[in-house]
Symmetry: C2
Subunit: 218 residues, 2 copies
Amino acid sequence: MRPSGRAGREAPPLSRDRIVEEALALLDEEGAGRLTMRRLAERLGTGSTTLYWHVKTKDDVLDLALDAIFADVRIPRGSGQGWRADITALIDGWRAVLLKHPWSSALLGRPMLGPNVLARSEFLYATLLEAGVGEPHLTAAAFGLSNYVIGSALMQATWLTSAEQAVRQAAQEHMRANRDRYPALAAHGPLAAGDDWDTGFALGLTWLLDGIEANARH
Amino acid sequence: MRPSGRAGREAPPLSRDRIVEEALALLDEEGAGRLTMRRLAERLGTGSTTLYWHVKTKDDVLDLALDAIFADVRIPRGSGQGWRADITALIDGWRAVLLKHPWSSALLGRPMLGPNVLARSEFLYATLLEAGVGEPHLTAAAFGLSNYVIGSALMQATWLTSAEQAVRQAAQEHMRANRDRYPALAAHGPLAAGDDWDTGFALGLTWLLDGIEANARH
DNA sequence: CCAGTGACCGGATCAATGATCTGGTGCTCG
DNA sequence: CGAGCACCAGATCATTGATCCGGTCACTGG
């Protein structure tokens, strides 16, 4: 016990897991832009350069943090609810996690190869296979669903986080000023529509699933 | 003519447009990660600080560059082909532009409020309205289509650009090593499937359009 | 013709950041 | 007890976005 390195440090010894854990807290509190190795080290009560003993680069920290949040997405394995319900639950959970950690959307442009992500992708493919979806619809379905969630979360997070920075207000005024140039957009666009992202997302998901179902054997 | 500022400079005087133009060239050649104000200035044959007279911040340059590429997306206004063909053409053009400039995918996390993007969004909304799509399907349709393209382009660009950096190889080996843990993924995943992104994208788009059509009045 | 105004340019400079080099410090095993 | 190892951190470097302040030209009013 207490394998502390220095004289009487109270915190557990630095570890990869502790770094990721603190990185997650920092990201949730201040966003991706403010994650610095120095700041992270400070929060951990350690020197900034020490982190590099446990982690190769800063990108490593980001990759690990990104994969970590997907541990919260429950995999509805063997729920007995049918493949449609299972996939809906998976996708909804996926989306919820992305929206719960808005900084994650900014990181979606990197390859997601962590164990949590892979496990959930595996479930998606397996469920579709079991439902009788074959190529080329299988690839289209898996990609379509993934891409749809990713795009939706990215756009919603972008919109919501920039809302506080008065970007939204500027956009609204710009919209009103050029109302004649963008009539449909001004009347029905994201600014006119409320903040009901959920039903819109659910509708699109239904359409995708309908299309998939039409090409499944069961 | 020749309103050159200094003694006999051959290039036209620096302007916002020239900056954006050169930024686009730099981005296309070297990617988003290597766009630096200094490098950009060097290519323009000017001092790095001079750029800040024409542009407020680096983000301005990125926003302008991102909107600029969408000028190449043809708006099929009044094509007489029907709304489905028009929207398909718009979405396909949107996707083509994103894939032609892979760096753009990394910038999709910022609000896109440039004139080119707004004009094309306006066309999307207007076309859907004309097709008889009303709320809440209108918002769902517009968002669904946009998010689907964005997510697809993001994922494909991520995958393709990281392919050269041997990330793909590492992923493939990781996949083979854990083949038992990810059976469906290993057999049918993006690594197993070829590089035929197009048909998968087209299929998903069809499903979305089918769903939209089922909720339109015409 | 000439002083002055303002658009435009850039060298020096600052603070922040990712990453490395190098030298510790204390625990543990033989 | 002492040698090796896991772990830590100060000093340091290069890069980058951004600002300060002083320059340089074209043009204009008198």
